[in-house]
Structure formats: C-alpha cells, structure tokens
C-alpha cells in the first residue's frame, strides 16, 4: 500500500503503515484511514501507539476542515 495509512482489521488490530501492505489472518483491512495530512511528529506518535484515537481524530478533523474550506 502506497503512502501513509492507518489500517483497521476485523479482529480489532490496528496498524500504522508506510509504503507496505499488511494482512491479519489472511484478510485485508476493513477500514483504511489516509494519514497523508499527518505531521511528521503525529506520524511518529502513531508509530509508538497506533491506537491513539486522539491523534487520529485530530488528523481526520484537519482533513474535514480542508475539505469544507475547498467547498
């Protein structure tokens, strides 16, 4: 998988990835969150704790805001 993404799997596993693919129990992720808007610091924080919901929400809010600003 290209770029930076957060992958969520059916069994609850969460992975933060960059330029690599991950499958759990032979299955593709059920949700993919684009982390291209994450700062370097945020990405490193997620690498230390992939299930850090606060940082993920912060990144998603930023993406939402940018989308609204464009409209």
């Amino acid at each position: 998988m290209r770029g930076r993404n957060l992958l969520k799997f059916k069994n609850g596993s969460t992975f933060v990835i960059e330029n690599i693919g991950i499958e759990v129990n032979g299955e593709e992720p059920i949700e993919i969150i684009d982390l291209s808007e994450a700062t370097e610091k945020e990405f490193q924080q997620l690498q230390g704790k992939p299930d850090n919901k606060g940082i993920v929400q912060k990144i998603m809010n930023r993406v939402d805001k940018r989308g609204k600003d464009m409209v």
Partner: protein
Amino acid sequence: MDYDKLGLDSRLRAKSALSNIYPPIVRGVDFDGQYQVQTKNIRVSQLVGTSEVATATGGMDNNTSLTISATLNPNKSNNQPNFALPFLAAYIGTSAVGSMQLYPRYGAGIANAKYQVHSGFDYQSWNGTNMVFRVTVENNSGGSQNIFVTGRWKVLGYGYGTSSQG
C-alpha cells in the same frame, strides 16, 4: 554537378569540416533506440538505487497471523519488469531494537518457539513486472504483541522512471 572538385561534399559542406571528420554525437536517447550492446564486460555507474523506507507498526493478538507484503511496482511509463532485492526486518515492540528482532534473525530476547515465521517471493500475486516479497508471522506467544517492521528495496534503475512501492 560534381562538387568534389571544389572540395565540397554532396551537401555542399567542406570536406575538411569537423562534421565530416568526426562521427556524429549520439545522444543517450538515440543510442537506446538504435543500438543493441554486445560486450563481454560492461561498466555502468548509478545503476543500483534504493527505494523509500517502508514501515509498519501495530498490535497482534495471540493465535493470529500477520502477513507483511512489500511490493515494488514499475514505473508505468516504461513498464519494464523490476529487478530488486528486498531488505526487511521485523521486531517485537514499536521500534527497531536488535535484541527484539523477529525476522530475519531472532534477537536474544525472542523465544523462538513462540512464533512461526516464513517468507519468500510470492508467485501468487506476481504480475510479471512487479516484485512481491512477503513475510508471515504467527503469534503463539500466549499474549498480544506489538510488532514493528521496516524495510527498503535495492533496485536496478535501468528504466527512465522510478518504481513505486506499496
């Protein structure tokens, strides 16, 4: 008319002109299309390059398997088959700590009976032009574990563009 007597060629250029003395300059692009190299020995600089870094970090429950897939896709503009070597390392934890390395070697802190690991170039999803290398880890340690993966490709850069990995 015979221009030879005037010292000119058929294009009315002086026979002593540099363009008639030296062979024309062949640009790289022209050479690529016009010649096939046959030689016993060739020396090429800047043929081998390295890809961007790939990483993965996450949690793995007991009795689950994790498949790490490093794929290198050729540049679409030339679509020549990639030729590359993968360098991949996996660790228990959230960073690259030597004693906690799980693949390709077991670090001193890893009890090898707790994990099953195998890897290889995967024919299953190979399309003839890409490179696909996979590592599968099964966690039988009795508990949930964090895992950190990092790697890059060493790539033969004989095409016009760069390859993308994912």
